[in-house]
Structures are given as structure tokens and as C-alpha cells.
């Protein structure tokens, strides 16, 4: 009596094991699967969740408009892999999404470190990977054929911030010569500082002070004293929400403000939490980022309002680049008409979008030889009356920049 039971058990075991070895089969008809890698748990889960909302909203919007028409109206479906923000988990999840879930393409990853590794896996399996919310230049500098980088890169954040100060100096006659760098001693902070150190002198500035601080910081007074000693016209700053708040508050404490302005970059200073935390002390601060809700571009306001209504938050912190990237992927799928890796890769490489949804933040979308979006750029916004308004470039600006920004004593 025991033997048949054993046979049944063995058969079941083989079946279960076989199922996990055999590929799960092709994509079901009428559905295009997109694999998404994000930190959905762990310390950065809140950022991952913000991205996930943008992915979901994009998929809903595309499906509501009839899905991928060249594939008979196939619906777009997002399948998620949780990276925990760790490269090794990202690699395993990428493998799973490709081999088990048979996704047509991959997107993500929020963390640059995860993107660097995960894109290599996708390259091996010949599955296109749209990196839409990780910024480090190296992602698209390794000659990978299947990796496409839709966002503006770290070097652009450094270059665009310097170019803005130059442009507004020419416009107003109040030109900056002496500049300072204040950067968080983090991966992103160091990367940007590295480019600042190279690009700012090339742009004609004298780099008089170069300060890195430990993050999270218990005091920024030492950094501020170093800035003060250098007497810069403009301070270029990279900081998290917490560090940026502390820096501005302690600048007020020390009654220090540079001659002309503080130009901050990245997600921290342009985050709504920072705006709320810093209060009126932040007035006049410039932030450089790829998009702000208060910008003169088609559909920007409508889109942000819709996102806000749904999730109670602005579509910032790369939710915007993520949303746009799903539409870029949709455009590629539409022209490929198939989920075959090589043909889809070719279609994405041939992308040249000049109209449609991605125009809410891009002028045009076209990938160069390296797979970088050649038209990704940053805008500059200024904190005016409690929220960021784009002031540069002028063609997308909604407000006029206050330049120079007065010292504490000169403010009301």
C-alpha cells in the first residue's frame, strides 16, 4: 500500500520541479509583458512605490487607448521584481522575469548600482532594457546593445546647472565667477561633484571651495564656514531632503548666503517634503531637475493633476520619467509589432518621437549610438512663494527668476 503513494509523490515532485525548469511558455496572446525592477521593500521602498504608481498609470492609460494596436490591441501588463535596492537581488529578479515570466522588455531600476548589473543580464538574454529612473552615466557608457537610457544623466545635472548660471548671468548682467561645490559624500553626490570639478572650470568659473560632508549630517555649520571662507558667488549643492533642510536652516543661523544664489540639484531639494520642511527659508533656492509640475509644456499640468488626484502627491521624483518611458516603450512595441528581442531592440533603437505623450517632458526622444536619449535635458526651477516654478530655459519657463537672490538681512 505504501509503494503507490510513493510513486504518486515522486511523480508530483518531478512535475513540480519540471515546472520550475521549463520555461513558462510564450507571452499569452493579447498581452505584452513588461518586466519592472524596483526597490519595493527595504529602505527605499517609498521611492519604489512612487515609481510603481507611475508604471501602473502608464499601463492603464495605454490600455485605455486600445493597447498595442500593431499586435491586435494587446494589453500592456507590468510584472514586478523587487530588488530591495541590492544588485545581487536585482540580477536574480531580472533572470526570473526573463526566463520565467517571458517579459518582452525590462524597465527600472531606480538604483544605479542595480541598473549596472541588471542590464548585463538583459544583454545576455537579448532583451531590451529601458533604464528610466537611474542616472549614473556609466549605465549607457559600456557599449551595451540592449540598454537604453531615457533620463538625463549625472553629468548633465552637473553641466546643466553650470550652464544655467552662465545663461542667467548673461541675461541679467550679474555674472558669477567664483563658485563652490557642496556635496553629500554619497554615491550620487560624489558622481555629480566629479563632473562639477571637471565641467565648471571648462565653463569659465573659478572653483574656490569644494566641500564634501558626511550624510546624514548632524551639523552643517563646518561646511557653511568653509563656504563662507571661499566667498563664492554661487554655491552648487547636492543633498538629500534631510541634509538640504539642515543646510538651509544653518545658513540662516550663520547669517550666510553666497553673493548671488544657491543652485541645488537632484531629487532631495526638489522634493515636496523638502519644500514643506524648509518653509519660507527656502525662498529663492534654485533646483535643477528633469521636470517640475509647474512648467510650460503640453499636458504637463493635466497629467500631474491626474496623478495627484490618484495618489495625493506630485508626479516628481522620477515618476515623470518613468511614465514617459512606458510610452516610449509602447512606441517601440507598436513599430516592432512583435516581442522578438532582436526586432524590438531595433525598433527602440530607431525611436524618433516628436509628438504624443512623452512631449509632456521631452522635446524629442531619439537614442544615440550609445543608447542614451540625445534629447534628455534638465530644467531649472526656483522656489517662489512656497513652490517650485520653472524659470529656465525661457521657452518652458512659467516664472521669471529672481537673480541675484538677496542675503538674509535684505529679505523681508
Amino acid at each position: 500500500m505504501r509503494k503507490p503513494a510513493l510513486y504518486v509523490f515522486a511523480c508530483l515532485l518531478i512535475l513540480i520541479l519540471a515546472q520550475s525548469w521549463w520555461p513558462a511558455g510564450a507571452q499569452p496572446p493579447g498581452e505584452v509583458r513588461i518586466g519592472v525592477l524596483l526597490p519595493l521593500s527595504g529602505p527605499d521602498a517609498i521611492d519604489g512605490e512612487n515609481q510603481r504608481r507611475a508604471f501602473e498609470m502608464a499601463a492603464e492609460d495605454i490600455n485605455a487607448q486600445g493597447g498595442i494596436k500593431s499586435m491586435g490591441g494587446a494589453r500592456v501588463r507590468m510584472l514586478y521584481g523587487d530588488t530591495l535596492g541590492r544588485a545581487e537581488v536585482g540580477i536574480a529578479e531580472t533572470e526570473r522575469l526573463i526566463t520565467r515570466e517571458r517579459v518582452a522588455l525590462l524597465m527600472g531600476t531606480w538604483h544605479s548600482g542595480v541598473a549596472i548589473s541588471a542590464t548585463l543580464v538583459a544583454e545576455r538574454y537579448r532583451v531590451p532594457f529601458l533604464v528610466c529612473n537611474a542616472l549614473v552615466d556609466a549605465i549607457s557608457e559600456r557599449g551595451l546593445k540592449y540598454t537604453f537610457h531615457t533620463v538625463s544623466r549625472t553629468s548633465q545635472f552637473a553641466g546643466d546647472s553650470g550652464a544655467f548660471v552662465k545663461a542667467i548671468g548673461d541675461r541679467t548682467g550679474k555674472r558669477a565667477k567664483r563658485v563652490a561645490i557642496l556635496n553629500a559624500d554619497t554615491f550620487f553626490g560624489r558622481e555629480v561633484a566629479r563632473f562639477w570639478r571637471r565641467l565648471l572650470p571648462e565653463q569659465g568659473y573659478d572653483l574656490v571651495t569644494d566641500v564634501a560632508y558626511a550624510s546624514p549630517s548632524t551639523s552643517q555649520i563646518e561646511s557653511i564656514l568653509k563656504l563662507r571662507a571661499g566667498r563664492p558667488d554661487v554655491v552648487f549643492m547636492s543633498a538629500s531632503v534631510a541634509d538640504a533642510t539642515m543646510t538651509v536652516r544653518q545658513m540662516k543661523e550663520m547669517r550666510y548666503w553666497p553673493e548671488l544664489a544657491v543652485v541645488a540639484i537632484g531629487g532631495g531639494p526638489s522634493h515636496p517634503t523638502f519644500v514643506e520642511n524648509v518653509g519660507e527659508l527656502g525662498e529663492g533656492l534654485f533646483a535643477v531637475n528633469d521636470w517640475f509640475p509647474s512648467i510650460r509644456r503640453p499636458q504637463s499640468k493635466e497629467l500631474n493633476d491626474r496623478f495627484r488626484k490618484k495618489h495625493g502627491a506630485d508626479m516628481t521624483g522620477n515618476a515623470n520619467t518613468t511614465y514617459a518611458a512606458v510610452w516610449i516603450a509602447k512606441d517601440g512595441l507598436e513599430r516592432a509589432g512583435t516581442v522578438d528581442g532582436e526586432r524590438l531592440r531595433q525598433a527602440i533603437a530607431d525611436t524618433d518621437i516628436r509628438t504624443g505623450v512623452p512631449m509632456f517632458m521631452y522635446d524629442r526622444v531619439k537614442f544615440d549610438e550609445a543608447g542614451k536619449n540625445a534629447y534628455a535635458f534638465n530644467v531649472v526651477a526656483q522656489l517662489q512663494k512656497g513652490s517650485f516654478h520653472v524659470v529656465h530655459p525661457v521657452r518652458v519657463a512659467v516664472a521669471t527668476a529672481q537673480w541675484p537672490v538677496p542675503n538674509w538681512d535684505a529679505r523681508r
Binding site: 529602505p43 559624500d185 549630517s217 564656514l225 531632503v241 533642510t245 520642511n277
Partner: protein
């Protein structure tokens, strides 16, 4: 030359008030160690708890953090007492590594509880005096930091007198020195430990409350202060809280002047170099052997 000296004094002044903040965190830590011989690795989370008490008191009822400091001290005295009675006490006979793991676990639990309840967002409160400063001959000192410095001094001195002069204080010291001996002469060591942990937790929460006017509130906010506080506790001899206070000022000034000489990014290099130096050459700390 004149301005150079002024700048240097500015760094020193900043170091002293920063040291006051560190001291406030370190005093509770060293008290718990001195009495219970347990290194409380959840101390930073108790500091964070105090921050949230003051944050919510301010947001919901507009209670000033200096007032709500009393609320968070009372609340966390109770929480500390409960922690000691039901969590720490059962593991007191166990090897020290188990106690460390336990307190780390308590800390992780509290951090994640705060994340669930309050989200990981960084928050700040806007009190009118948040960025006010007072000028001593051109050297600017932040008023809320100065207040926390003064409170740290007063509280430590008060604790010192409490332990030296009152009956309960003497009982605490007796239980710390020899648990069985104390019990033999009729001191309830269990109660004493509960009170000691309660006071330590209350001090941590006060530190958190006093930080709120000028620091960001978030679930991991206590960590950078507590890392430094461990160094201070060792430097000032573990269990000696006047030593902790002196150590805090030394570390505060060393970090600040170190930032001036090297880079603000390397401030922890300075404090941890001192830490390693102390462990190598004077492991009993500056006030070696004289635990109060």
C-alpha cells in the same frame, strides 16, 4: 589674523554646543550601562521616539518642544521601565552577546514601527526660534543648540546629585556595584534596575525632544547621534556620566575642528580615530576605574 581666530573660535563654539547634544544622548546610555551592565543598542531609537513625541505634540496641539520634553521624558520613563521588566530582565543572566542582540532587535522593531506608523518621510517643525542665534563677540551660537547644551549639563548634574545624595540614588549605586550584596541589605535590585532603565530611556527621549527644533525627524534620525554617543561613553569611561559629559564636549570639539582641518565628510574619521586610540591605549577610558 583677527578673522582667522574668529573663524577658529566659531568652530570651537559649534563643537561645544554639538557636544552638548551628544552628551545628552550619551548620559542615558552610560547610566544604563553603569547600572545594568548592558549596552543598550536601542538607545538611538529611544531618542527617535522622543523626537516623534515632540513632533506630534507640536503638530497636533502646538505644544512647544521644550514643554513636550517633559511629556516624552515621562512617557519614555514608563516605556523604559516596561522594556526592562518584560524584555531585558528575562535575559539579564544570559551572555552579553545575547543582550546586545536583544537590544539591537528592540531598536530594529522601534525603527520599523515608526516607519509603519509615520512613514520614512523626513519632517521638521517650524518654531519661531529654530534658526535664532546669539552672538558672543562675533561668534554665533544657535540658541536651540545652546539650550540643549545647558539642559544636558543641568540634567547630568541633577542625576549626579540624585545618585550621590538620595536614598534611592544610593540604592541604585549599590545595586550597580554588587547586586547580591545589595539584595542582602534589603535593596530590591529588580526595582532599582527598572528605575535605572526608565531614567536612561527618559533621558534619551529628552535628547530627542530637544533635537526637534533644529533637526530632522525621521525613523532613523537617532542613529548618527548614537554612533557618536558610544564613542563618548567609552572615552568617558563606561558608566561614568560626568565622564560622558566631558567626553561629549571633547568629541564635539574634535569633530568640529577636525572638519575645519580636513573635511566635513571626514568628521566621523576624527571621532572613531579617537575611539580606536582610547581602546588601544586607555581602554578603561579617561576616568578609568572611577565609575560613579
Amino acid at each position: 589674523m583677527q578673522t582667522d581666530l574668529l573663524t577658529f573660535l566659531q568652530y570651537v563654539a559649534n563643537g561645544i554646543v554639538l557636544g552638548g547634544v551628544y552628551g545628552l544622548v550619551a548620559v542615558g546610555l552610560t547610566l544604563i550601562y553603569g547600572v545594568l551592565k548592558i549596552i543598550n543598542f536601542s538607545h538611538g531609537e529611544l531618542v527617535m521616539g522622543g523626537m516623534y513625541v515632540s513632533y506630534w505634540c507640536f503638530v497636533l496641539w502646538r505644544i512647544d518642544p521644550y514643554v513636550s520634553a517633559v511629556i516624552s521624558m515621562t512617557l519614555f520613563f514608563c516605556i523604559g521601565a516596561v522594556l526592562q521588566r518584560y524584555v531585558v530582565e528575562p535575559i539579564m543572566p544570559a551572555p552579553q552577546i545575547n543582550q546586545i542582540l536583544l537590544t539591537i532587535g528592540v531598536g530594529l522593531f522601534l525603527t520599523n514601527l515608526a516607519m509603519v506608523l509615520f512613514s520614512p518621510d523626513t519632517r521638521t517643525i517650524h518654531v519661531s526660534y529654530a534658526t535664532t542665534t546669539i552672538s558672543f563677540w562675533g561668534v554665533l551660537v544657535s540658541i536651540p543648540r545652546l539650550v540643549s547644551f545647558v539642559v544636558a549639563m543641568v540634567l547630568s548634574l541633577g542625576l549626579y546629585l540624585f545618585l550621590r545624595t538620595t536614598r534611592l540614588g544610593k540604592a541604585v549605586r549599590a545595586a550597580a556595584q554588587d547586586r547580591e550584596g545589595a539584595q542582602l541589605v534589603g535593596i530590591g535590585a529588580r526595582q532599582v534596575f527598572i528605575i535605572a532603565f526608565g531614567i536612561g530611556a527618559g533621558m534619551a527621549a529628552v535628547a530627542g525632544s530637544l533635537l526637534t527644533p533644529f533637526y530632522n525627524v525621521q525613523p532613523t534620525a537617532g542613529v548618527p547621534f548614537v554612533l557618536t554617543a558610544y564613542v563618548i561613553v567609552v572615552l568617558g569611561t563606561m558608566g561614568n556620566f560626568l565622564g560622558a559629559l566631558v567626553g561629549a564636549l571633547l568629541i564635539g570639539v574634535a569633530e568640529s575642528v577636525g572638519s575645519y582641518l580636513f573635511s566635513p565628510a571626514l568628521r566621523q574619521l576624527v571621532s572613531f580615530s579617537i575611539f580606536i586610540g582610547v581602546l588601544l591605549f586607555k581602554p578603561e577610558g579617561l576616568f578609568g576605574g572611577k565609575a560613579s
